[in-house]
């Protein structure tokens, strides 16, 4: 495109136009449409998952998750920033953006189990298990917990044979697991009472506005994800833009969601930061499109504007 020779809009002949009336009419139209759509389609509201629901629906998974938190092998335990330094986190090429954010929400995964149990129990078996854990050396703690997780194992799935006790803590082989079985069982019992969320989120400060710990624990288990997959909400099911049921969700996230479905992102360990960077780049391209040769000329090549301003062009067609 050559120099911008767009004339001053104020030099054109004018026609009558009522901006305020236009606004008021559209306001009424949108209000009526919203009231109507809301009446017809409502909005989804599935109750939140509780720890006791998890404990009752999949107790074995909760016990395994508790033992894994103690062993330091869960997603959150090995996450890296902002929760801990146990991994480098994602990188954009050589740039460790995640690490640069810093460990500003420090979370010790074993505390997700020990914290609630230390504060709330009046069960002597659990109290002595906590004391035994705290008295042991770190290597001993990890060995107990890791051995117990291995002993529980997992049920056969996806063509893979069952391991350990097939995922059932009741059937584990005899071994030296220290206080870990008692701690895991204690967390299960606490979860069943319905008190685990409170013990994690509001212990010591009364106000439970911050659910970071509960959500990390919940997401480390399988129950939350199982529920989501059952509703087609997983990441590889376009879950980021969909809502439960048939509600419309966030269709404007389609492009962001799209990249996760294709290579190289679908198989990358750094997919999150790569997709973010790509979206930022595309947003900047869109933002500065008026300055980008080629892109800014597309509206001339594909003349949709001939349709939009057809009356104007027809009227001025007679002129040279």
């Amino acid at each position: 495109m050559t120099r911008d020779r767009t004339p001053d809009s104020h030099d054109f002949p004018t026609r009558r136009y009522d901006l305020v009336k236009e606004f008021v009419i559209t306001l009424v139209v949108v209000l009526v449409a919203s009231l109507g759509l809301a009446a017809i389609f409502s909005s989804p509201d599935e109750k939140p998952i509780t720890m006791s629901a998890w404990a009752n629906a999949d107790p074995n998974n909760l016990v395994t998750t508790a033992a894994s938190e103690l062993a330091g092998t869960t997603t959150s335990a090995t996450y890296g920033a902002p929760y801990n330094s146990n991994s480098e986190g994602q990188k954009l090429g050589p740039i460790p953006l995640q690490k640069w954010g810093g460990v500003r929400i420090p979370i010790d995964s074993a505390d997700l189990v020990l914290g609630p149990l230390s504060n709330t129990t009046n069960d002597p078996a659990v109290s002595s298990a906590v004391a035994a854990w705290k008295a042991a050396a770190p290597e001993q703690q990890t060995k107990w917990a890791a051995d117990y997780v291995d002993a529980i194992g997992a049920a056969a799935a996806d063509g893979e044979a069952a391991t350990g006790a097939g995922g059932d803590p009741a059937n584990v082989a005899a071994g030296d697991y220290g206080p870990v079985p008692a701690l895991s069982a204690g967390l299960l019992a606490l979860a069943k009472t319905g008190g685990l969320e409170g013990a994690l989120d509001s212990a010591g400060n009364f106000y439970g506005g911050d659910t970071t710990k509960s959500l990390l624990l919940l997401a480390d288990g399988a129950y939350l994800e199982d529920q989501a997959v059952a509703q087609n909400l997983a990441g590889d099911q376009w879950g980021m833009m969909n809502e439960v049921g048939n509600a419309p969700g966030q269709p404007w996230m389609w492009l962001y969601t799209f990249w996760y479905q294709i290579k190289p992102f679908s198989t990358s360990d750094n997919a999150d930061v790569e997709v973010w960077a790509l979206m930022m780049l595309l947003t900047l391209l869109l933002m500065f499109l008026p300055f980008i040769p080629g892109l800014r000329t597309i509206p001339r090549w594909i003349p949709v504007h001939r349709l939009i301003w057809r009356n104007y062009y027809r009227r001025s067609a007679g002129r040279p």
Binding site: F12, E22, P48, I105, A247, W252, L289, V304
Partner: protein, 215 residues
């Protein structure tokens, strides 16, 4: 402008050392005289596409209005009240309309190359609005205190954390997300909408491509 300043002389009302005069001058200079709310538009302003900017604005008004009603009842009200649930539905559907109209508006302005004639910053503020609106709706989904919010938080944290921003913007903390959703981000959106509309009124509606007044 005609003022009935009584005793004041012209020199006093234009005194450049007076901060109030300077602010008034700034505000009056934002939009050419008579162009803030004119009752006439250039002849080429005759297409349905022009309505979509205003429709976006009206939907934003309904979004904010329904959001304010939800705020009256409090965070969990809509789970226990059928009226609350209905207001939540109105909020959701006005948001869907808002985005629908905004996207049509965006594409309309693209095909009109509406950034021509010193209007590039209008386009830039528009894209900013698009991006920040997406962020605002994201924090809204996180503030629902239901299963969706749990799941979206669990998934969304990985994206935000991977950029390093998660250290400051904790999607697992619904208290923080709610405040961003109902205070910080709406303030920013409304502020940029104001700027966007002043920009539009300042330059006037963009003339058609290849419009030539000398012809």
């Amino acid at each position: 402008m005609t003022t009935s300043t009584g005793a004041k002389s012209a020199a006093e009302t234009t005194d450049p050392g007076n901060w109030t005069n300077r602010l008034r001058g700034r505000i009056e200079g934002l939009v050419p005289p008579g162009e803030a709310l004119p009752d006439r538009q250039p002849i080429y302003v005759a297409s349905w596409i022009y309505v979509f900017g205003v429709l976006t604005l009206s939907s934003l008004a309904v979004v904010i209005l329904s959001g304010c009603v939800l705020a009256v009842g409090g965070v969990q009200w809509w789970h226990v009240s059928s009226l609350g649930h209905y207001v939540n539905s109105v909020h959701l559907w006005s948001v869907e309309l808002f985005f629908g109209f905004m996207v049509i508006h965006l594409w309309g302005k693209f095909w009109m190359a509406a950034w021509r004639g010193k209007r590039a910053m209008t386009w830039v503020s528009g894209v900013l609005l698009f991006g920040i609106s997406i962020g605002t709706s994201f924090t809204g989904f996180l503030s629902q205190t239901n299963f969706s919010a749990q799941w979206i938080a669990g998934e969304g944290k990985d994206g935000i954390n991977s950029t390093g921003a998660g250290a400051f913007f904790n999607v697992l903390n619904p208290g923080q997300m709610l405040l961003w959703h109902v205070v910080l981000l709406p303030l920013v959106v409304v502020l940029i909408v104001l700027i966007h509309i002043i920009q539009v009124r300042r330059h006037g509606v963009v003339p058609p491509l290849d419009a030539d007044l000398e012809g």
